[in-house]
Amino acid sequence: MKTVKSLLLFIILCTGFVSEAAPMRLQLWHQMIYGHRVVLSEALRNFEKENPDLVVQETYRETEELRSSYQAAAMGGSGPELIYGPSDQIGPFASMKIIRPWDEVLEKEFFGQFDPLATPKYQDVHYMIGGSVGNNLMLLYNKKLLKNPPKTTDELIAIGKQMTQDTDGDGKIDRYGLVFNYTEPFFFAPFIPAFGAPFMTEDGKPQLNTPALQKTFEFILELRDKHKIIPKECDYETANALFKQDKAAMLINGDWSWGDYKGAGMDFGIARIPLVSSTQKWPQPLVGTAGYSLNVNIQDPERLAATIKLLKYLTSPQVQKLFTERVGVLPSNLALRDDPAVKNNALLQVSSYIMEVGTPMPVVPEVRGVWDSLRVQYQKVLAGSLTPAEGTREAQVMAEAQIRDMNEVIQPDASAFVIQGLALILFLWVLWVSRTSLVNFIKGLQGPQRFVYFMMLPAFIGIFAVIIYPFFYNIAISFSNFNLLTFQSWQIVGFQHYITAITDPRFWSLFVKTIIWTVVNVFFHVTIGIFLAVIINQVMPAKGFWRTLFIIPWAVPQYITALTWRGMFNQEYGPINQFLQQFLHLSPVQWLSQPFTAFTACIITNVWLGFPFMMIVALGGLQAIPHSLYEAAYLDKANAWQRFRHITLPLLMPVMIPAALLGCIWTFNNLNIVWLVSNAGEPGDQTHILVSYVYKAAFNLYRYGYAAAVSVIIFLILVAFSISSLVAQYRKETR
């Protein structure tokens, strides 16, 4: 035990050393892609050399994660000094009051040196200073395959058809005319205004139920189904890989991707996304910025001054020039626009020409609801479960509903007092009931039983701190109006979230789906587990080898396997479809773009993940069955099936039932697989189970109160389920 203690002490000391720092440490959280991170880090090291009393620590987070971890951090009163991200995050952050207006700390003249696009305003206040402008979509074309890019959509289709070829004559298309991440609304959004009207009104309301959106949907469907110039399934990675390997002539992508293609040694050109022939209008890419915002919690004047110094450095011509030269971004500082680094960069010149037809990226928080409903309904259209006309109608309805939910501040009603009263009564009751136990407890600490206390207390204090306390905290949130607008000032409002949840038909359909998910998964886990255990135990030589082999899926970390399976289900490049085509001569399945197959894909992944546990449990159970029983059965001339049915199975049950019960609870709450394999519920939010739906409501739509209520309901369902099955088992045993 002594060694254990000293080791722990040692580790604590080690970690203590790391967090100790003499100069002032500033933090910057960002979501820059790989190439940009290198430049950032170089710039920051220069800054540290110039300011020896400051240390800057940069932390990379993926966009969504940056948002959610910053929210948590800022709410806890801490977080980084500066946060760098796309302009559309300032709407939500400003609504939550977790970023501070730059106008309060910077002189007015400062903003004048930047391109107006780089200093977006939300409610007439500056919340961000951009390091560059752009982020706009354009048409990239492979100069090896194509000399002149198309100018109109008619030309695009004609060239696309010419370029889409089956070069080796095996009946499969080897080269596509056009590829892009067309399942993501951001990538087709430029077309919507070109077909008639923008998707949001000037004052930030959704405007989706329009002929323009309907025509856009039809246009993409035609590209895919009628002209067949884009792949049937194409996410960002696929588009990227096809383009890089000369397997696509044209690509719609943004300026951030240039470095990647240059790095791959490609000869590519850029052009405007072609003019829509039927309306004679240019598609309008969304032009935005990514920039720095100030944490509201930085109040210490010294720290604030240092932060401002850092901001001014990061947005200075000197640093921007570094970024322009190394990764080719268009600087936001107007002083640099005439610099040779910009003037002589052909790509940047074309890009600023493309920007002339762009529209600024909306920054209001509502845009999140619009993107989300657009994505959901559009993916349903792509999967063929809605017509384009229905899709536009539904998208509008859903966007309005989501925005309403997001901006709703529920007022406390009578039930709020009931809850507070009940909580008080419950607290007093617990005190009253446990008054003698409490006295006994304290007495017991000195009494003969104190051994038990010392054995148990440390573990239960840990469990209390880590699980029980947060659990009650969640119950409190579930009765509150905690959401986007009440981030800092939520209060208990009543049972509203519970009522909303259980009167929502969507909740019940998800509930049914979760049951199906659980039952199917656990059924396969248990049957495959028993099947393999019996065969390994009875037939196979080298039992240890096979046992080890089948443990592999369990041993590999889940976040790795989930992403691996997602890759394997890819329609064109996934090994699963290639296997189906090459060996079984079946046509490829569009696994991830149809709701049913996507859900099946999640189930297959989870079955793969879960059977080893059950197999091990079953193997253990088999070893405990006395051999004499089988010998008796031989004498009775029982066949293999009868032996299994009447000896193995009944004696395995006591082992398998508790394992299956636990398996049900784990599977019911398994977020990872659904979230990672189906890419957060795609297509069209149709692969959600209850937990992933909760996760989305909390972390993507800011409805914490509602999400907490649903998770309490999930908890109650599982408690009821396990109590009833434990009782059933107990009855069976005592009968």
Binding site: L8, E237, M455, M456, Y559, T564, W565, M568, P575
Partner: protein, 272 residues
Amino acid sequence: MIKKFLAWVSVLLFAVFSIYPILYVLSVSLRGDNAFQSQSLEIISSTSTVKNFVDLFVNTEFLLWLRNSVIVSAATTLLGVTLASTSAYALSRYRFRGRNLMLFSLLATQMFPATMLILPFYIILSKMHLIDSFVGLFIIYSASALPFCVWQMKAYYDTVPKELEEAGLLDGCSRWQTFYKIILPISSPALVITALFSFMASWSEYIIAAIVLQDPQLYTLPLGLRSFQASLATQWGLYAAGALIVSVPVLVLFISISRYLVSGLTMGSVKG
């Protein structure tokens, strides 16, 4: 004969099913040109290189992440095993008020969607100044693996005959000594399982690590690997190579203890 043949065929089919995804990761990690997609089913092709593995060790902070992960997992495992073995022993051997409630609430902790606990975690940790420190992680990891481990250990202790302790007490051992010198050594299969679960809970955990650790110098392997992924440009080759290396220790651990796994995981429920 036919039966044997069928058994072989089905076992081989399942073997392919269970190891193919790992081979697929291997194949991605060996593709030199960062090409995630390929239209062939070959695992190793003529263009395969080990460049990604070399890059991983030379050009990234992989060794630092590895060190951090080892520290976190080792401490979590130690803490987890200590707490689970002692508290489960008390639950198994002593009858006291609230014991059944305690046992059920341990099970019930598994029923609440874990992701909803993130926000409260953050608030607690930042109030205790445990953000950016491994101590916060030890506590969360070991405590969240505890419920399962305690159940597991308790089921095992239940199968150990009481007479052993009685004999020990007669020979003049204290209660702690009977536990430490007699019960613990014969519980090694269950202890190994508990250690394995605590280790796995910390070795591959991502979500909590991401909110607790903000300083890149403290990143654990999952966080480090995740930094190869960006929303619009993923370093697939590096990611796959890293993923393979991350899986190796867990695999080795599983293989070396698979003997204990079978007895430790089921002993309790069979006899209990």
